[in-house]
Symmetry: C2
Subunit: 395 residues, 2 copies
């Protein structure tokens, strides 16, 4: 790679002015990005197919590195592994500098260091993702740039991804629709005697056969509150919750739907009806300009009036390439930037996952989780089907 500035001949897939502003606020001169999700974002959807799931190879690992200098997108460099030469040949990268000659994490970072050293301008504070930068690569970075201060850049990167583009929204909608479609088909295929493991395997295949990558499924059956897949067998009268994440080109659909083997009695109808009431109340205030915290305030009204309050949890959180991301709407413990967006306005293109969970002491685990995108004058719910008691074995 050359250190001199190059002409950018392809469109840059993100808002460089916004990123420059976020980096200025964090006092970061150079970004060194190493997580798959942020690499994907900054490269406009690119994710190297060979290491989409795996990382390990030999005694080290695959480590993609993207270098971005504040205010100088023309200095951007991408360091991939040797096999990514195939992708370079297909002209997949917008960054003016692309190297595809590394095999291992330290080698990749050494090439990033050499690129940074050739840049003009400030490199005083270098932003990294400390949770996604391996210790060996960090040591290489520190050795190579002894004058630079290494700081965490996860927060500005998360803010950059906050408002989704129409293309991202289409992917999130598709992921949500297909996850729910897979769930409804899976409920139809369940039978008494099937294990939770078998049900999850059925759902996994249904998601994959709809074009998704399956991420996980939390599952309860009967009155147990245990949500891990296991050899527990489905019995007549059991309720089931399926809470699954599946992604479409990295964008996660994450929803929860309920099934029942038989017919729900009035109490079960009322309990799920109450969950539904909270879910609908929570989405009602959503629109561009509403406060993030309004979602919690709206959910609180039916909750505090309910005799079930003690065993119901309400949660709302942003989602996208990461299953919990900005907007950050609530306090979840000693975490930086906690509830950052609660007093701030919602904006068009934000996507919020809304979940109401009941751990009923006698009737078991009852939950709905929905995906809601903020629009100019309201919201759109993705994958909004199957919200009642889905009859098991009915298809």
């Amino acid at each position: 790679m050359h250190g001199t500035s190059q002409t950018i001949t392809k469109p840059i897939p993100f808002d460089t002015a916004r990123l420059d502003q976020l980096l200025a606020e964090a006092d970061i001169d150079v970004l060194v990005v190493t997580s798959k999700h942020n690499i994907q974002y900054l490269l406009g959807g690119y994710r190297f197919f060979f290491f989409e799931y795996m990382d390990a190879i030999g005694v080290s690992r695959y480590l993609p590195v993207l270098v971005y200098q504040r205010g100088k997108p023309e200095n951007s460099g991408y360091i991939g592994c040797r096999m990514e030469g195939f992708e370079k040949e297909l002209d997949r990268f917008w960054t003016p500098h692309v190297a595809t000659s590394s095999n291992y994490s330290m080698q990749a970072m050494q090439q990033a260091v050499e690129h940074i050293k050739k840049l003009g301008g400030k490199t005083r504070r270098v932003g990294v993702e400390t949770s996604f930068l391996p210790a060996d690569a960090e040591a290489t970075l520190r050795r190579g740039l002894p004058e630079s201060e290494i700081v965490d850049a996860v927060f500005p990167l998360e803010r950059l991804r906050l408002r989704k583009t129409p293309d991202e929204l289409a992917k999130l909608r598709n992921a949500s629709d297909q996850v729910v479609g897979a769930m409804l088909t899976t409920f139809g295929k369940c039978k008494p005697g099937m294990t939770k493991n078998e049900i999850v395997e059925t759902l996994r295949r249904e998601e994959v056969n709809r074009g998704l990558n399956f991420d996980y499924c939390l599952i309860t059956a009967g009155t147990s509150q245990n949500r891990a897949p296991s050899d527990q067998r489905l019995q007549a009268g059991d309720t089931i919750s399926l809470d699954s994440g599946g992604n479409y080109h990295g964008y996660i659909g994450d929803l929860c739907r309920m099934g029942i083997l038989g017919e729900p009695d009035q109490e079960l109808k009322d309990l799920l009806g109450f969950i539904e009431e909270v879910q609908q109340a929570a989405r009602k205030p959503i629109a561009h300009g509403a406060r993030g915290g309004d979602i919690y305030a709206a959910a609180e009204a039916p909750l505090k009036a309910s005799p079930h309050r003690a065993h119901v949890e309400f949660l709302a959180h942003g989602m996208g390439l990461v299953s919990h991301e900005a907007p950050r709407l609530t306090s979840t413990g000693p975490v930086p930037y906690d509830a950052y967006d609660a007093p701030r306005p919602l904006e068009t293109g934000m996507v919020v996952s809304i979940e109401t969970t009941m751990k009923h002491p006698k009737r078991g685990f009852i939950k709905l989780e929905d995906t809601v995108a903020v629009t100019g004058n309201g919201y759109e719910a993705y994958g909004d089907a199957g919200r009642g008691w889905n009859r098991i074995g009915a298809r």
Copy 2:
């Protein structure tokens, strides 16, 4: 978790004497394991389902941590995340100490530090996986154990996994069989006009519907040497190579098979015949007690006699939970432990991937890759079907 030694009530799923010996050779007192594959190995197949594919959550990530003190398996501790409480309830862990109260990487490592501090005995040298330990967790570890030296432990962990158990071999065999089965079905479904992307998507679903997790597919079509999935369309007369990895419970099947849209002419038959000759020669010496380097020596005989030598590459490498692991049979660049096993004896239970690749300047990319397990008096090949020219669209 308690620092005092506990009684181990469940069988330990690996050879603790062997691990203790490897740690003694590396002068490591305490192991702190954070990669999914080594956690899985040390916990007897356990991999937390929720984060099987993803890592990112919130502004941090999931980080499982396993602590093992040399010579004292009774001091072992596993630090999972909060949701792994469901797994603990199902009694999935053999380690006497299990904590499931962390949410983020630094929190998990802080709990590991507290566990280590309570251990008696030496903690002078702490072994980590530097490519799989995030920088934030490493900083927590160093702050918490300022007297300890942090060293890399990837090599002893890889040696521990070198000889596969019958259960591991069964998983590798199944993965290999299913990958090849999926390829043969995919060849049958290909048609002129299909893109490489569509062919890979077909293969992905075939692997998943056989119970595997799809990892990747390298693919060529026609005379192009480009192995990335793309919108290149299949044309009459094209040859295709499918080189795919898919795993069964983490154990990788990685094989390459050839297809053709039409009938192969004599030259194509001869070229694939030559690849097959090299592949068969390479596996011939394999048996418990043979030298690792004998595989290369055996492949070299037909190679050096061939007019195709200049555009043929031969490679043999161990495989298992990681796609390239011990036995290490050749030099692949400036990598530690390179060719470590070439002068050493092969042993029962080692698994070797053998690949012969021709980049023919006129006829394109032609390759076979096979999986061979070392047995007492020879070898067993897994997924050994479909080694000739598979006719495309024939099923």
